[in-house]
Point group: C2
């Protein structure tokens, strides 16, 4: 039986703040965070309303984002969204991640997080959308699917290059039941093994969801 | 060093779905989940936009919800939001939880979850708001603060009774640095020890946030 007190962990937050400066896809509206009642104005409490695309900031995709018969975000398995994840150092990769770049992925890796040049370029810390970011090639997506990986994280808003003729990377991952986690801020997440927790909201029928993505390791 | 493969867990989701039927406070707008692009209509993908009060459904309160100088949701400590939690059986309590009801709380409990008659009445499964729900009395809030508890969860939309002359329960908890987690659906969460994970979104300056609240135990 689980008992208090808890083990002690060091946490690193890989989530970008949701607010007026959040990085969003160029066709998405800005994130809106609005205080609709305020103590200062004499209301009994502060109350905030939020409004945004589920693909804004740090988020994940559900299969139905690109697959007509794909499942929605509330059907994603919780046990895939929490557990050991390997953060791969790809800091020199500014364009397509190819299978050759993935040779360092451990055999037993079920959750793979790609720390590319997007991180050193601080792309998720800029409110300006860029079309020029590191992403998976279709071959790399196939490689990941062939290895039984269940979740793949990346440090910009898409696992796929901007404007492909067909969304082959998304389709390959989503058909294989792999969860893409996009928009991670990996600045403070060093390469290696971590425990990842990145649960989506339980949004009925949604093709994606914001997540609070945290990496942790036992302290000491 | 943390290594794959992970330990195996049994998960119980205590989050209510976010959508048109989500239980919200009587003065809050309904949760809006809208598909703004769809494969069916010929768009390249499905895209959903969401809009709601941060106090809708399963959520937590930040100190600034009721305290003028209180901190916002992004400052809540991650280590309090994840860890061992004790679910206390109060299934006969339909009104105020008093200190006498809390005698069964273990000494080492840092995260306390109250499973009251709200659960058997399935209040979080009804889209109709009710003013009649189990809640903490001001004395019980004081008791909790005196015990060094850091998080308190309850199975309806507020830890406090409807319409108090002053929000003494919220103020007592928030001033003591205790995080109220409200709107839990505890139907499938039996009393006893669990590991709780209930991370909020990182919403800039917000007085609260929806959470995905999950309870887990090692399998077998």
């Amino acid at each position: 039986m689980l008992q208090a007190p808890s083990a002690s962990y060091v946490y690193v937050d890989a989530t970008v703040p949701l607010g007026g400066v959040t990085t969003v896809w160029e066709t998405d509206p800005p994130v809106s965070v609005e205080r609709v009642a305020s103590l200062e104005a004499g209301d009994s409490c502060n109350i905030t309303h939020i409004s945004f695309s589920v693909h804004a900031g740090t988020h994940l995709d559900a299969p139905c984002h690109f697959l007509p018969e794909g499942s929605a975000v509330e059907q994603l398995p919780l046990e895939v969204l929490c557990g050991p994840a390997y953060v791969l150092n790809l800091e020199t990769v500014t364009g397509a991640v190819e299978p050759a770049n993935l040779e360092g992925v451990p055999e037993n890796c079920k959750r793979l997080v790609l720390r590319t040049a997007n991180t050193s370029r601080a792309l998720m810390r800029s409110p300006e959308f860029t079309r020029d970011y590191a992403h998976l090639s279709p071959d790399a997506a196939q490689w990941i699917a062939s290895r039984g990986i269940r979740l793949v994280g990346i440090d910009y808003l898409s696992v796929e290059r901007f404007g492909p003729p067909e969304p082959m990377v998304h389709r390959t991952l989503l058909r294989a039941g792999i969860i893409p986690v996009e928009g991670l801020d990996l600045t403070d997440v060093e390469p290696g093994w971590w425990e990842l927790i990145c649960l989506p909201l339980r949004i009925t029928g949604s093709d994606g969801s914001p997540v609070r993505a945290v990496f942790r390791r036992p302290a000491g």
